[in-house]
Symmetry: C2
């Protein structure tokens, strides 16, 4: 009988400590980098009500779908989308094999760090850069190239690794949602295969929960060593109207929580708000020229137009001022 | 003190019973509907080795990706793919609104149960049936139509609900893999939006883990009540060469375990076997004319060709004879 008592005691202690750990987690501030105020409270209130089984707003765990834009929402996007910075870096790596690029735009502009010349080459020039840097290799090789870049490449003016230019408050938000049994997805205009190699490490979001734009790939059996070859042909643009389509294709459920930062996210937020039951729509507003960048209706990339701001106000979407709401921007090392 | 003792006792009992349940599950036979033998043992050996941290074949849980074909692999597919049976049923439902169908193939054939006439209308006729029954409505409405059908429609000769014509041994395999921290995906030539409304209920596979063929959809804001309209235009065919492409697009990782039943699954199995480390490839062989159907190289739908059998033998893929390996076919009610 004594033996059973000891076993009971051990079992009870195990259970006690596992419960204690849970309580510690739930009693702490889940969003420590967010300033107290209406925005932070509205996020917490939303999570509390949809996870409360006694609330009329209760949502079952399997339907707690949350979607996040990437560029400008989870990490910075200046001076250009980081995927374009990757492409420019890649052109420089490939240049020794292409001596002709020295005299040929848009490559000449890239090699001479003359972004103006690159931009003047227009959409055609941009597509040439993308095709050169993103196609013509296997998916495995592209993954290796992306990993090598993300692990080493630094931002030209902030001198931080790009992967360290993610927003600490948003990392906390992702963790907070997952702790409350939300599934977190990225739904980005960026390239799906550019993001997947590092989103798990950086955001805790595995490849199968990343939705993005894509180029076509082709299966090749290759005598028992099959590969997928990346082709210089657009498959899907996961932006604007494309975001609800991408969500439908990859997730097959409507989100109840969505966060973006630009006109490219408008339809994703509308689609989320159109869901039945209580939903949450958030927009990161880049208004912090000191700690990050400030850009609004005038910006050509990553626009947050006046009309988007009006839509947000009229529809009760939460606009997050980086300057006012966030204690820190990037994670402290 | 007495109060604490009672609380301890209650906690301990709770823990005791939850552990007892776990042990029962893990000590029991995980595949009770599979006959003992080489096939069953090879599945168990594979799962044991990739989940054993001390094995050179160990695979981390996040990389335990398994993919399953649907038609003929998880449920039956005779006399026609069940999605076609759905389409034929749907034509009959819609017929009162289309009196002209009485004299117009392929609809006439459908209404008169003259499958031969339907087949004679060829690919063009088939596409007319698919467009009529699968497009021209919102994704929400299509989901409702599919749910109403799957909950009530019965097979013409077996007189079972279609959703009860799933293979009990495969249900056990799916559960067994998930209990060992595999993620289970469907990768089917069937329509992604035809499967998603019921795969969670029937197979325990949520919508975001279903990959399939699709038609195009278009976002419409509709004054604040946004919808996606299904268009009569093919978007993606998730069959043969398309399966590795669909896996890459939706999962972004290569499977280590894949199961199919026909030539349409060949590339998925090749792609899986081409992964690094230990992998498993299985094929369901429909050779049970008494309990299900027997069809091989001669069948026009759901072929298991001689060349596939040869490839399976030469590459050590596991061919599962329904007749010999499975104690039961469908779940007992």
């Amino acid at each position: 009988m004594r033996k059973f008592k000891i076993i009971f005691l051990l079992l009870s202690l195990t259970l006690f400590f596992s419960c204690a750990e849970q309580n510690m987690q739930s009693s702490g501030d889940p969003l420590p980098s967010w300033n107290e105020g209406k925005t932070k409270q509205s996020i917490i209130d939303f999570v509390n009500t949809v996870t409360d089984e006694n609330s009329p707003n209760y949502v079952k765990p399997e339907d707690r779908i949350s979607t996040f834009d990437n560029d400008g929402t989870l990490w910075s996007e200046k001076p250009l989308y980081f995927q374009l910075m990757f492409a420019l870096d890649r052109i420089k790596v490939l240049a020794p094999e292409h001596p002709e690029w020295k005299n040929k735009q848009p490559f000449k502009g890239v090699l001479e760090n003359d972004l103006k010349a690159v931009m003047e080459s227009g959409m055609k020039g941009l597509m040439e850069i993308i095709a050169t840097t993103h196609a013509g290799m296997t998916t495995d090789d592209f993954e290796k190239i992306v990993i090598a870049w993300i692990d080493t490449a630094k931002h030209p003016t902030k001198h931080l690794l790009y992967k360290d230019m993610v927003f600490q408050p948003m990392l906390e938000l992702l963790s907070y949602l997952r702790a409350n049994e939300f599934k977190t997805f990225i739904v980005s205009g960026g390239g799906i295969e550019f993001m997947r190699p590092w989103t798990d490490q950086v955001y805790g979001i595995p490849p199968e929960q990343v939705v993005g734009s894509s180029i076509k790939v082709k299966y090749n059996y290759n005598n028992g060593k099959p590969f997928l070859m990346r082709l210089p042909e657009i498959n899907f643009i996961d932006d604007k109207d494309g975001k609800p389509v991408g969500i439908n294709s990859h997730i097959g459920k409507r989100p109840i929580f969505a966060f973006g930062n630009s006109d490219g996210d408008r339809q994703m937020l509308e689609w989320t708000q159109g869901n039945t039951g209580k939903t949450f729509q958030g927009l990161v507003h880049h208004d912090d020229a000191v700690r990050e960048w400030a850009y609004g209706p005038d910006s050509k990339i990553g626009t947050f137009s006046n009309s988007l701001m009006q839509e947000a106000e009229s529809k009760d979407w939460t606009v997050v001022s980086m300057k006012d709401e966030w204690k820190v921007i990037y994670p402290e090392k």
